[in-house]
């Protein structure tokens, strides 16, 4: 005997499938990456970049990062099933077949290369693909499962979007572009470890050697504070190089001071009570520091 689906259920199914494929791209994470891409474009242009170039670079950037994330869902389906936070993901829950997720990710990556080559230049497309390769190869396949430095070195993948934005406008990646890369590179460990403190049991259950699992909570909180101070120092370098001015400097110092205070409160906390605030603020920090760059460039 078969059970007939209700008409509303049939109508809802294509939307649910579409929703699952969108979920494979991790849109919330990408939105922050695209802020860094756009910020870099405004800084490179020293004003407002061409609207079409901005739009197509955002689309191409989304496709590349989305492709990387979809492939991540395919590769990590074994450990996603052992973490409470990720058991409802489309692949691990069986709603999207693993092979389809992989094909979808590869297709998005290829499409991003096409879009960015046509709309910007080959360097931009190559950098986007480099970001995808770093995320899948260096982070997901290698370091995430084998090293306590997984998020430090593997996190370089998430720092590529400003290079993509800069290259789209200028056709090259000089010191200024690498300074923006560095801000995201040094921001990633304190940001991610604040989250890892909250999810420590999940990572331990999945056998992922995140810092709190391997070195303990106290050492993680100490490193979050140290990396945050390094990151604030690095965030000032665009002023030292002459790329940004006093408006950006004031913004970077104020935003950075708040981040350091939160990291210090977390370090002094006997528990992990400040980890959630530190994590949420880190998201706001990254978006706002690139906004400060845009305001300074305007």
């Amino acid at each position: 005997m078969t059970t007939r689906a209700a008409p509303t259920e049939i109508a809802a199914r294509p939307l649910a499938v579409l929703g699952d494929y969108v979920r494979l791209t991790k849109p919330r994470i990408i939105s922050l990456l695209l802020v860094t891409t756009a910020g870099a474009m405004f800084a490179a242009e020293q004003g407002v970049p061409d609207g079409w170039l901005l739009l197509w670079t955002m689309i191409g950037g989304y496709l590349a990062a989305g492709g990387a994330n979809a492939i991540n869902h395919y590769v990590d389906r074994d450990i996603d099933g052992r973490m409470r936070r990720t058991t409802e993901r489309p692949v691990v829950s069986g709603r999207v077949a693993p092979g389809r997720a992989l094909a979808f990710g590869v297709a998005l990556g290829a499409l991003s290369a096409l879009v960015l080559t046509l709309a910007a230049n080959v360097l931009t497309a190559g950098l986007a693909l480099l970001g995808l390769a770093l995320y899948v190869g260096l982070y997901t396949l290698w370091l995430k499962r084998t090293s306590v430095h997984n998020i430090v070195i593997g996190g370089s993948a998430g720092a590529v979007p400003p290079l993509v934005g800069w290259a789209a406008v200028t056709g090259d990646v000089g010191l200024s572009a690498w300074l923006l890369f560095a801000i995201v590179f040094y921001w990633t460990p304190p940001h991610f470890w604040a989250l890892a403190l909250i999810l420590e049991r999940d990572y331990a259950a999945a056998g992922v050697p995140m810092l709190p699992v391997v070195r303990g909570v106290t050492e993680t909180k100490r490193q979050i504070l140290l990396w945050t101070i390094v990151m604030v120092g690095v965030s000032i370098l665009p002023v030292a190089s002459g790329m940004a001015g006093v408006t950006y400097l004031v913004g970077a110092l104020v935003l950075g001071a708040v981040f350091i205070v939160l990291a210090a409160l977390l370090a002094r906390d006997p528990g992990i009570g400040w980890s959630r605030a530190t994590f949420h603020y880190s998201l706001l920090y990254l978006a706002l520091i690139f906004v400060a760059l845009v305001v300074d460039a305007a």
Binding site: S147, V148, V214, E219, V232, G233, A240, S241
Partner: protein, 61 residues
Amino acid sequence: MTLRTFALVLAAVLAIPAMLPLLRAPRGEGAPRTVWLSLDGLWTVVPVVFLIALIAFAAAA
């Protein structure tokens, strides 16, 4: 002192002293003793070398 010099000094004063403790052998349960002879040693040094290069290039710009 120009804005650029001020920013360079401030960046170095903040970043370098905070980076140095991260070079020390890791503490805590499960910390490897031979970290410097392993791939982990390389991963520890990469952010430090990158930081020094960034400061040097920013100063030279």
